[in-house]
């Protein structure tokens, strides 16, 4: 009986191709939308955390003040002595780089480009996970003497030198000219969307003397692999509180941020976005479901007559029901599978387009598949159940 009923159901699907197609279409679109959105969202989250780890996942940044962003809010800045103190007293700190940042227009021949200029020591490069594409970083002598040398990022190279090798070339920054001694390997966009390669790095003294004219610095500290970031953060906080004479009841007037924290903030943002997109897509799945319901209800007159014929010539109510149930399950599953296939294709394509990784998420595939199947079964089966409960003669007369 089961086999016969299955055959009847498949025949009925084949016979009503248009109706079957429209039924499937709603599910396909809904399932594909949900899976694609969530998959792309997951990819974006992954890509954000990848970019953050490109900054170095063991990085601490120390800035004066409590606010995130420029301006110290009246809190005293850090000096070179603070850098030395951290370097000498915190065993978990692998590299401690003083950092001074400013922006400046840099010029090479006819090309000029406004970029950010960072003053630091050679510790800046390993601490920030930078690698060299060409040339070298500055030497200790150059640091001490505050020589006019610089290492530039890929974007600056492109704007000032085009495709030429910049190493050995000269750029003018404000009043002085500066020899390019190295080129950084490209890191691409940061998690916050700014171009990390748009950078010029000079020795700390050079920037302090010639560009900013102050001794104020921030610190970038890389933590030794084996040490706990939280412990090192704690130690640095205690040390700096002591050096800045902050009483026990007073709040810190500086911040020690670690990249993991930033990563968590940003990935939680993209996760929320993913959920939002998923919710929007779920609405489309629901709309697809309502579409299915519509088609089923429109065809209910025809179906009711068909059920009447089947009952009259000797089909049991349960045989008719089983046939319609199988029909609904087959259609919905088919729609779900096509939707998953479509979503995989679309996700792969769009992930490539957006430059985010494609991550297969089995849970969302399964959930949307089951949901679509449930919709199909409910809306396909229940009108049929009502019809199969009629007297055959009433079903036959149904208009």
């Amino acid at each position: 009986m089961l086999w016969n009923t299955l055959l009847l159901a498949l025949r009925s699907i084949r016979r009503n191709l248009m109706r079957s197609f429209l039924t499937i279409l709603g599910i396909v679109i809904g399932v594909a939308a949900v899976i694609t959105m969530v998959t792309l969202g997951n990819g974006a989250t992954q890509s954000v955390s990848d970019q953050i780890s490109s900054m170095g996942s063991n990085l601490l940044m120390v800035i004066p003040g409590q606010r995130f962003g420029p301006g110290s809010g009246g809190a005293p800045s850090f000096k070179s002595a603070d850098v030395d103190a951290v370097r000498n007293q915190i065993s978990g700190a692998e590299r401690v780089a003083p950092v001074v940042g400013t922006s400046a227009t840099v010029v090479n021949q006819a090309n000029n480009w406004s970029t950010s200029v960072t003053g630091s020591t050679s510790d800046f490069f390993p601490a920030g996970n930078w690698e060299m594409a060409a040339g070298r970083v500055f030497s200790e002598t150059e640091e001490r003497a505050g020589k006019a040398v610089c290492v530039i990022g890929e974007t600056v190279r492109e704007k000032l030198f085009g495709r030429q090798n910049p190493v050995g070339g000269e750029i003018r920054v404000k009043q002085f000219s500066c020899e390019v001694i190295g080129l950084l390997k490209s890191k691409g966009q940061s998690a916050m969307g700014h171009d990390q390669d748009d950078i010029v790095v000079m020795p700390l003294r050079t920037v302090q003397r010639r560009l900013v004219g102050s001794q104020d610095i921030n610190m970038t500290i890389s933590v030794r692999g084996a040490s706990s970031i939280d412990a090192v953060k704690q130690q640095i906080t205690l040390l700096l509180r002591e050096r800045r004479n902050i009483g026990e009841n007073q709040d810190d007037d500086f911040r020690v941020m670690d990249t993991r924290q930033i990563a968590e903030t940003l990935t939680s943002t993209t996760k929320i976005l993913t959920m939002l997109l998923g919710a929007v897509a779920a609405v489309s799945l629901l709309v697809g479901g309502i579409g299915i319901m519509n088609i089923m209800l429109v065809s209910v007159t025809e179906r009711t007559r068909e059920i009447g014929i089947r009952l009259a010539i000797g089909a049991l109510e349960r045989e008719v029901l089983l046939q319609f149930l199988i029909e609904a399950v087959v259609l919905s599953s088919l729609g779900g599978l096509v939707g998953i296939a479509l979503a995989t294709g679309a996700s792969l394509f769009l992930a490539g387009l957006m430059g985010v990784p494609y991550i297969f998420d089995p849970a969302i595939n399964l959930v949307s598949f089951l949901f679509s199947a449930a919709i199909g079964v409910i809306f396909g089966f229940f009108p049929a159940r009502r019809a199969a409960g009629l007297n055959p003669i009433d079903a036959l007369r149904h208009e």
């Binding site: 016969n4 025949r11 014929i309 010539i313 089909a315 109510e317």
Partner: protein, 235 residues
């Protein structure tokens, strides 16, 4: 008293539609006995109760009261499923509106009752082809109802009704939607199944010309049997 060997016996059948003030009594006590192999035409104006009686005889509807014995079995005591099985095994139906499955070939339509009987595919095909041949449509088995004329569709419906070799063929105005010429062909066909295969035929009609094919004519008026006449001469 009628003979106990009657295939069908109705006694005191009533049928009421609706309740209370709106209640309408369609059948006001029908007593009927039909022997095996008979060809009975049921006549009457619309609303006379003839179709209601046919639906009860065909186990498509249940009476409000009264008793219906089919081959000695009290049908009113059967469950819905048991009535379905009775239809499946003993009854064949031909309707005024043909009631074939749309977008389904003639052969598949004829096979359908056999599918529900659980017959194997090879047997189904053979029986359905043979039934189509008996109604003269052996060359049309691959056509869907939309590709067939009204007369052809009714032939397919007849083939579907007799493919199971039923004890009773119930025809509800089988020629109601057909022109005179085609109606005669259909009646010849039904008549032939009655005579050659001994299938009992119960037919509702309001055309006296068609009733002439029957051996017995029962006339309904206002929910009662008004006249029950036997024309031994037949056609």
């Amino acid at each position: 008293m009628m003979s106990d060997s009657a295939l069908i016996r109705l006694s005191g059948i009533t049928k009421t539609y609706g309740r209370g003030q709106a209640a309408f009594q369609a059948l006001k006590g029908i007593n009927l006995s039909i022997g095996a192999g008979d060809f009975v035409a049921v006549m009457g104006s619309s609303g006379s109760g003839k179709s209601t009686t046919m639906n009860i005889l065909g186990c498509l509807d249940v009476p409000t009261s009264g008793s219906y014995l089919f081959q000695g079995v009290p049908v009113e005591r059967l469950s819905r499923n048991q009535r379905t099985l009775l239809r499946r095994n003993f009854l064949g139906f031909v309707f005024q509106g043909f009631n074939l499955l749309a977008r389904t070939t003639a052969l598949e339509n004829v096979e359908l009752p056999l599918v529900y009987r659980g017959e194997p595919a090879a047997m189904r095909h053979a029986a359905a082809r043979s039934a189509l041949q008996q109604v003269g449509l052996e060359d049309w088995e691959g056509h869907s109802p939309a590709e067939l004329s009204g007369g052809q569709q009714q032939r397919v419906a007849i083939a579907r009704a007799i493919v199971t070799s039923p004890a009773v063929l119930l025809a509800d105005e089988p020629t109601g939607n057909l022109d005179t010429g085609t109606s005669r062909e259909i009646m010849e066909l039904i008549s032939a199944f009655n005579q050659k295969q001994g299938i009992t035929v119960l037919m509702v009609t309001h055309e006296p010309d068609m009733a002439k094919y029957a051996r017995r004519v029962i006339r309904f008026v206002d929910g009662r049997v008004e006249r029950d006449s036997r024309d031994e001469g037949g056609v």
